[in-house]
Amino acid sequence: MSLLAPLAGLFALTVPAIVALYFLRIRRPDVELSSTLLWRRALRDRQASVPWQRLRFSWLLLLQVVAALLLVFALMRPALTTSAALAANTIVVVDDSMSMQATDVSPSRFEVARQKARAIFDEMTVTTRVSLIAMDDNSRLLASSSGDPGPLRDALDRLQPSNGGADLQGALAVATSTAGAGQGARLVLLSDGIVDDLPTPVDVPFAIDYQPIGSGAANMAVTALTIVAEPGQRDAVAHVENLGRERATSAVEVRVDGRLVDLRRVDLEAHAGTDIVVPLPAHAGVVTATLTPHDALAVDDSASVDAQPGRSYKVELVTPRDVFLDRALRLRPDITLTTITPDHYKPDPGVDMWVFDGFLPPSLPAQPYWVLAPPASTLLGTGTVLAGGHPRAATAADPLVSGLDLSNVHLARTRDLRTSSFGRSVIESEAGPLLLVRDSAPRAALLGFDIHDSDLPLRNAFPLLVDRISRFLLPEDVQSGQHGPGDLVQITPATGVSGITVTRPDGSTSALSAEPGHTLTFGDTDEVGLYAVSEQRSGKALLVSHFGVNAFDPVRSAIAPHAHLDVNGAASAAAVVAPSAKQDVWPWVAAVLLAVLTLEWLVFHRAR
């Protein structure tokens, strides 16, 4: 029993008021009599002449006080905790995150959640409103219906488990907006409790009925697969973890381009992991590591990665003397650098990027380029030489300079770029912009000073700045690194490519239009597996690379279901996450009140 409106208890102040009325003598109508002699004798010692009187027991007083207390009790809206009734406004949240694919319960946690949701839909009545919310990385309202379970069933049938996480906060936000301001809403959370941590406790205007799904915790997973390149040798390194609560054994298959190259047994204690290193043959392509047989959660039992080295770029550095730039550019392994003097410069369409140091060609190339220490030029909008000042980031959050320490860089002089319309400013000083970049194709950068007029080459920031500018001008064709389900993958088409086709692990394809110098973003990566990237060049498709999307998340792979779920902080979790609904009982209290008032009426008239 709980009270939904406890402040209404203040109305209990009416009780002493009722009692006070019994202390006070009421104003009575006058009635004329022949004589009050006998009445005075009859009432002698019964009534005093003071404006108040001794409180005597009275059934009327008792019944009126009881009626007032019942009224106050009804106003405080007492509610019983029930579990059977479907609330008038029920919100069903179905967890479709990766861990719900676990088969520790038959046929799977996700299917059990669907069955429970269908059972709730079957309880709907014409006065019941039910909303269905999917909880994953992108929690959303799937359907909402009053009385008719059809739309809800259709939406539930279409829902498939994802490979992402469970954004509980997002689901609660959607549920809160769905519940509205009405009272008595109830949220049924069908989940295994493996959800993204809530950054802060959340207050929700409804009771949460968390129904945990799942029984087992046993699960092994491939939580990392990378290619480690050594001079003359490349190795595939797979990391296998036992995320269960008991010792487990499995076998790890490592395949290169579909061919089995290694098979070994792993025997791991609970929460332990091991690395498996497999030397790769030359020209190895796709490397796949798979646990056999599959355990309760299959999606994290396999990982794929493209072992082929990335695309190589041809870069020409045109400089009369510089060695700092030469060394910094050569640090990037996918760049093949050629350094020439300005006398030997001639345009070459086969060059992927030009670096002009203290030199400006008569016409700017069509490929990305970087100009340093430019002469005064109307082509670039460069002006006279100014005192350098102290370099600093124009915008601290700019990824080109983010985290770079420029405070110890000193600059003697620089070319005036204040009137240049070359591009946006990245580094500036009291003399105005020092580094301008252009985002439109072809990408280009303009550094206003000669690096020899500063101590920049001697600072740690220099190689980082060169690497970032070169990667800005020459991005990788496919973004390297580990990609998880739902991640965005950036693809940069090479020069002359008209389109990109991405083939997903299930064989379906997505075609992307390519524009020179523009980077494409591919986001349809929910499926785990190997994605193939093909370039359309001159009407022909050419497979250029792969990237793997893998479920490398030990937190989500730890599939032990959570019996309790904290939403509103640990202290109040039990109150909020109650496996029940609140049912108003004030109508029953009001019925008793009516009976008491009827009895009071009878007593009053019987006394007259």
């Binding site: 009575r28 109508p29 002699l37 005075r40």
Partner: protein, 295 residues
Amino acid sequence: MSEAAEALGLTPELLRSLDRVALPSRRPIVGGTAGQRRSPRSGSSVEFADFRSYVPGDDFRRVDWNAYARLDKLVLRLYAGEEDVCVTCWVDASASMEWGRPLKSRCARAIAGALAYCALTSYDRAAVTGFAGTVIARSGAVRGRVAATRLWSLLDSMPAGGETDFAVLARAARRLPRGISVIVSDFLTESDPARAVAALREARQEVVLVQVLAPQELNPEVRGDVRLRDVETGAHVEVTATAAVLDAYRTALDEHTRRLRHVAAAHGAAFTQVDSGAPLRDILLGRLRRDGVLR
């Protein structure tokens, strides 16, 4: 038949019935002039005056045995030497008597008129005095049946108001000739009637107390929370008329009646209580005869 008699409810039929009844005296009374009542002064007159029917208590020696032989009925011979008495009806004309449905004053004045008529038909003298805090109206002692009309007119036209004070009777008693005094009142007053009765007794009056109460006084109709106002004194009493309070009222009424009976008995007076809502015939020929006021 006068209008006053009609106003008092004394119909010809009722008056004919009253012709056959009289006010008895409990002991011999020394009156002023000849009448039907026995005089303690024997042999004062031998002149035959009239006959009348024998009533229990009459002197057997006065029975006319010759008449008995002829009529087969006991009759007394009346002589001029026998003395009459004066019957004085003291009628309470206070404000409390102007209350009730029907008004208690109507009933009280009708009783007084009837008793006076009975006295006149018995060759006694009769007088009527209205009183409250003072003597409001009084008639002289009259004799003869025809004089009844004067008394009835006085009773009918007598004003009402004020508080009852029985000391008025005590003061007036000193001037009374020997006779019978009938006090007709509701006796609902703080004024003690015992002093008046004692004074009347000292004035050698036979006293009869007739208490007239309205039906609403015998069975109160008060309901709920009310403030009762005394029409005579203006006093207020707040009452919550529960069953217990009504029971307490009836107990107080019984106690008050018992006290009046004690006062009457202590002074050798008669007492009767009548309901003003009852038919006048039932009161006169029923209640008053049963209580010995009339016979």
